[in-house]
């Protein structure tokens, strides 16, 4: 349904050209959920915005690549044609629900507006549809809530309204950029349940972007791991979490605070800082922080290598070299603990 080929998005800033998305390829099939994870600044939002060309130009430029959605390259379309696709076939929800709703219009009117922009429908039918959508996303007493303004809703409820607006035209693809990051954990749990229900009901394909690997484990069929503007690993969710063959993903998984750890268990942190995207390191971008690093890694920039079953990883180590090195690292750690 969606296929992104070798996409580059550059941002022209005062300190130089930021290669925010640096040659990314992936696809999304109808009805599936793809999770995109990565640390802050790895390019997740710029990538998501580029799919609907919502990055402000300037600073953004698209020097290379294709975004094929239902046999059309979105990068070739005119703004007018894009507008037909946005909100209609592809919808997007953002991290901050307040800034995406207009504070001076009633919730009901904003919903009906969204419905009527893309479907010709009488006011009355649109109102009925709006009610049904609010009910679908679990707003209690939706009828009286249609006349409320956004500030009268809590953060969780506003996020539900945005999901309702996104669903108004039954899009084929829903892009959710950190939809729960600003919310409390119990409200996050409600929204994640809602997204699962919606997918079941409407069969919408979902791209969920988050830095929370727990959210991805819960929702995604497949996962893309981003690091400094690149996809460094891709695979079905189980392969990424249980059979990663990429040192960054491995390090990230080990560094997480986990509810299923022991009390006071020491975290295995990743050393160093994320790379500078204006002037990335030579060789592999992760090499300055990588516990597996070899001399070759400082020279060679690895490309994604196929590991079978749709699993791809950007690391020059072969699977057996990776496993061997992993055991060495774990042995050293164990000795360190015993001393």
């Amino acid at each position: 349904m969606l296929e992104v080929k070798n996409l580059k998005v550059h941002l022209d800033t005062a300190s130089g050209i930021v290669k925010a998305v640096d040659g990314v390829s992936f696809h999304v099939k109808a009805g599936e959920t793809v999770g995109i994870v990565g640390e802050s600044g790895s390019g997740k939002s710029v990538l998501a915005h580029s799919l609907m060309q919502l990055n402000p130009v300037p600073p953004a430029t698209y020097p290379q690549g294709e975004i094929i959605f239902e046999n059309r390259n979105l990068l070739d379309l005119k703004e007018k044609e894009l507008r037909k696709i946005r909100g209609n076939e592809i919808a997007m929800i953002f991290q901050d629900p307040m800034s995406s709703l207009n504070p001076v219009f009633k919730i009901g009117n904003q919903l009906m507006e969204a419905i009527r922009t893309h479907q010709s429908m009488s006011r009355q039918n649109a109102e009925e549809k709006a009610l049904e959508l609010l009910k679908d996303v679990g707003i209690p007493d939706p009828k009286s809530r249609l006349n409320d303004y956004p500030h009268q809703f809590s953060g969780g409820m506003r996020q539900r309204v945005l999901i309702a607006i996104a669903l108004a035209c039954q899009p084929k693809l829903l892009i959710a950029d950190e939809p729960t990051t600003a919310l409390d954990v119990t409200i996050q749990a409600q929204i994640l349940e809602l997204m699962k229900d919606i997918q079941k009901k409407y069969g919408t394909a979902i791209i969920i972007i988050t830095h929370d690997l727990g959210v991805v484990a819960q929702l995604a069929d497949r996962v893309l791991v981003m690091y400094s503007g690149r996809i460094v690993e891709e695979g079905i969710t189980g392969d990424i979490f249980y059979h990663t063959s990429m040192p960054y993903t491995w390090s990230l998984l080990r560094s997480l605070p986990r509810l299923d750890s022991d009390i006071h268990q020491r975290l295995k942190s990743i050393q160093g800082q994320p790379p500078n995207l204006v002037d990335p390191p030579k060789g592999c971008n992760f090499s300055p922080r990588c516990p597996f690093v070899t001399e070759q890694c400082l020279e060679v920039d690895p490309s994604l290598v196929d590991r079978g079953n749709g699993h791809r990883a950007a690391c020059i180590l072969s699977e057996s070299e990776y496993e061997e090195r992993k055991h060495e690292i774990q042995d050293i750690e164990r000795e360190g603990v015993e001393q």
Partner: protein
């Protein structure tokens, strides 16, 4: 009891709601609404709760920055409420705070070395300030060559290290950490959590560690307290707490945290709470949690549960119908949607 470094007794902190031209007080935001806690020397008390439940207000009151409406705060057995100016000055040295947002809490025009030296100068702690700043930077893992840099030249994790260095500079007895890792990226969170643990061992520090995430608390706390709408729902030593959480709210919090493990996520039983957090200006009657509680009965609407021991010595819960061990795992009908 006398060994407690910090004790909070029946603490209430209300903020008046003023309306109209005459600014008449029409009600109160009950930010902290009857809290008790104590922390022993060398211990870490973890405090969790959702946005607006009063965590920061509690922290600020412990530091003497907010005046309690009623109740008491004792440091080493002595009430801080009637402190003289001189004693208050000493309190500002002995109790330090680390904030959530390391950026807004650092003066953007001061060099790192100046930020860390400021409290040393104010309290004339040492004759050799330069040497001490060097030591402190080393302790928190900041390279000596960063000495002259400004805060904006640092990443979030490094800025939090600066905040920690400043907090430990005066060898405080207690450090109150208000969500110190919530704003940090996943990959640097672990570094900072480990730093807190290392410094505690090295300097024999006592922490009150506030977070909204029970998985972070698990890696650092000896005792855990759960807050909801200005009240304490459950408190316990970590062992008993994570082994068997008794309050329905705690169980909901625990089951709301997504595990980075797709296999477990698929099979896991989950309590998804309905509805939203009520307002602390107008808290529900009876048990404040009853409006969202999956097992609330009529009784809970009218009666207010107190923190009480149920079984285990160190484990207290404010609930008339606490959850028995294994109930969530077994997917007990009335608990799960």
């Amino acid at each position: 009891m006398s060994e407690a470094l910090l004790e909070v007794r029946d603490l209430e902190v209300y903020f008046p709601i003023k309306k109209g031209v005459l600014k008449k007080t029409t009600g109160n935001v009950k930010a902290v609404n009857g809290l008790n806690l104590s922390v022993n020397k060398g211990e870490t008390l973890g405090i969790v709760g959702e946005s607006g439940c009063g965590k920061s207000t509690l922290a600020r009151t412990i530091l003497g920055l907010e005046k309690p409406t009623s109740g008491d705060i004792l440091i080493e057995g002595e009430s801080i409420l009637n402190y003289s100016a001189k004693q208050m000055h000493r309190l500002r040295r002995d109790v330090q705070m680390v904030f959530q947002d390391p950026f807004t809490s650092l003066n953007p025009r001061m060099k790192v070395s100046e930020i860390i030296a400021a409290p040393l100068k104010a309290y004339k702690m040492t004759d050799n300030i330069e040497q001490r700043v060097k030591e402190l930077m080393d302790l928190v893992g900041l390279k000596p060559e960063y000495h002259d840099r400004l805060p904006h030249e640092f990443s979030g994790g490094q800025r939090q290290r600066i905040g920690i260095a400043r907090a430990i500079a005066l060898k405080p007895k207690l450090i109150v950490c208000d969500e110190p890792v919530s704003a940090l990226d996943v990959s640097v969170q672990a570094q900072v959590i480990n730093l807190f643990e290392d410094l505690q061992k090295e300097l024999d520090l006592t922490y009150v560690f506030i977070a909204h995430d029970l998985s972070v608390i698990k890696h650092i706390a000896d005792k855990v307290s759960v807050m909801y709408l200005g009240k304490m729902m459950e408190r316990s030593d970590s062992e008993s707490f994570y082994n068997h959480a008794q309050h329905p709210y705690t169980n909901a919090l625990l089951s709301a945290i997504p595990l980075p493990d797709p296999g477990k996520e698929k099979t896991r039983e989950r309590i998804v709470l309905k509805g939203e957090l009520p307002s602390p200006a107008n808290p529900p009657t009876g048990c404040v949690f009853h409006t969202r509680c999956p097992i609330a009965r009529d009784y809970c609407k009218e009666n207010t549960p107190q923190l009480e021991r149920k079984g285990n010595e160190e484990h207290e819960v404010a609930c008339f119908f606490p959850i028995e061990k294994g109930m969530v795992e077994a997917g007990s009908e009335n608990l799960l949607r």
